[in-house]
């Protein structure tokens, strides 16, 4: 067998292993982070550039954006028992959700672009205070086990 053919086969094997790695890693990257439990009025999920309906029971993934209309509101329960809800005219990005159900270690980043948000922290924060963070355009909230509300008024910036 010629040397170039061996290299070709090696490249193919490498590519295959890379693909295998991607498949194995996928659940950790794009798995279920939470479920919609409350959905009123106009609510949408944006995932990979697509707009999806957001009925009760719909899955929420990391990197999803959840948007509500003028009469909309939405409530999500996450796998670590964190609760988030957004009021009308809100835009909430689930930037990152990683949770180990055995150790309760994890990282939870969300960003409120506009509107209102209520937060009840869960097991991630209980295990590691401030491993949950809520960003707004001007600030970052580090959560140390608590309930709070946030409002971002975008009427000036728009």
């Amino acid at each position: 067998m010629s040397k170039s053919l061996i290299i070709q086969r090696n490249v193919l094997t490498f590519g295959f292993l890379l693909l295998l790695c991607a498949i194995v890693a996928m659940p950790a990257l794009a798995g279920e982070a939470g479920r919609i439990k409350v959905s009123k009025g106009e609510v949408q999920i944006e995932r990979d550039g697509k707009r999806l309906p957001a009925p009760v029971g719909a899955m929420i993934h990391a990197r999803d954006t959840v948007k509500t209309g003028p009469n909309g509101s939405v409530g999500i329960t996450f796998q670590d028992n964190s609760l988030l809800s957004a009021g009308p005219n809100s835009e909430l990005v689930i930037e990152r959700f990683v949770f180990d159900s055995t150790t309760h270690k994890g990282e939870f980043d969300t960003a409120l672009k506009k509107g209102t948000l209520a937060v009840v922290s869960g097991k991630i924060v209980k295990q590691s205070p401030e491993a949950m963070r809520v960003k707004t355009p001007a600030a970052i909230m580090g959560v140390r086990g608590t309930e709070f509300v946030v409002k971002v008024d975008d009427s000036v910036t728009k």
Binding site: A138, A139, F148, V156
Partner: protein, 238 residues
């Protein structure tokens, strides 16, 4: 011909090493360091906006954070960080911070009634809090104790009120018998509870079950000792 050869094995090692990095928990940088960097990014975006930043700056307080007392009456804490001020810790009921477009923090105490009114649509949309229940069982059996049997109705009523309940049923056993016997027994107990719930109308697709055998006693006992508190099933409802 030798195949696979050294480069392939090396590549395999590298790839598996990379795979092992998910999820990236262990090596995560300290949250505070990362936050500082991100806050910097925010300010960068703002200064690029030119005129917009002037408008934002002229109207203070277009962001608001209010700490609420928890359902059980206790209060936690939130640390608010921004580029324009030193970090502010909110740790009293209705402690609040307003943040203007320049990232300046203004601490205050918010009116409880006003907070409830202003955020009423948002707070109403909060999901029902996750809950867990315990049922106890007769020795060596998947039959609940009469007292636990009476609790099943109430547990079912709670579950029935929840939209899209995600239910985890975990069976446990006491130390009487072998590991294998107790693994089986704990799983039978969990199955029994799942049947009870589905018979009362909870769709089976909502229920996941597991048996933990005698691995997780709530009361430590001698090997082979019976213990009613350890013969249990946990029902966790999210």
């Amino acid at each position: 011909m030798r195949f696979p050869n050294a480069p392939v094995i090396l590549a395999l090692g590298l790839i598996l090493g990379a795979c092992a990095q998910h999820p990236p928990l262990g090596n995560a940088p300290h949250p505070i360091e990362r936050e500082a960097v991100r806050t910097g990014d925010h300010s960068g975006i703002r200064t690029d906006e030119g005129e917009a930043i002037h408008t934002v700056r002229s109207r203070a307080g277009n962001e608001l954070v209010v700490l609420l007392p928890k359902a059980n009456g206790s209060v936690g804490a939130v640390v608010v960080r921004s580029t324009g001020s030193r970090p502010l810790v909110l740790n009293k009921p209705y402690a609040a911070a307003r943040i203007d477009g320049a990232g300046r923090l203004q601490p205050s105490t918010y009116d409880a009634d006003l907070a409830k009114k202003e955020f009423s649509a948002t707070l109403t949309a909060l999901p029902v809090r996750p809950v867990s229940f315990l049922l106890y069982f007769l020795e060596g059996s998947d039959e609940p104790t009469p007292e636990s049997e009476r609790k099943v109705e109430r547990i079912f009523a709670d579950i029935a009120e929840r939209p899209y309940p995600e239910i985890l049923v975990i069976g446990h056993a006491d130390a009487v018998g072998t590991m294998q016997y107790n693994d089986q027994l704990s799983l039978l107990r969990a199955q029994r509870v799942r049947e009870d719930l589905t018979r009362r109308g909870v769709p089976g697709k909502y229920i996941a079950i597991a048996g933990r055998g005698k691995r997780e006693p709530v009361v430590r006992t001698a090997a082979d000792a019976p213990e009613p508190m350890n013969r249990r099933v946990e029902i966790i409802v999210r």
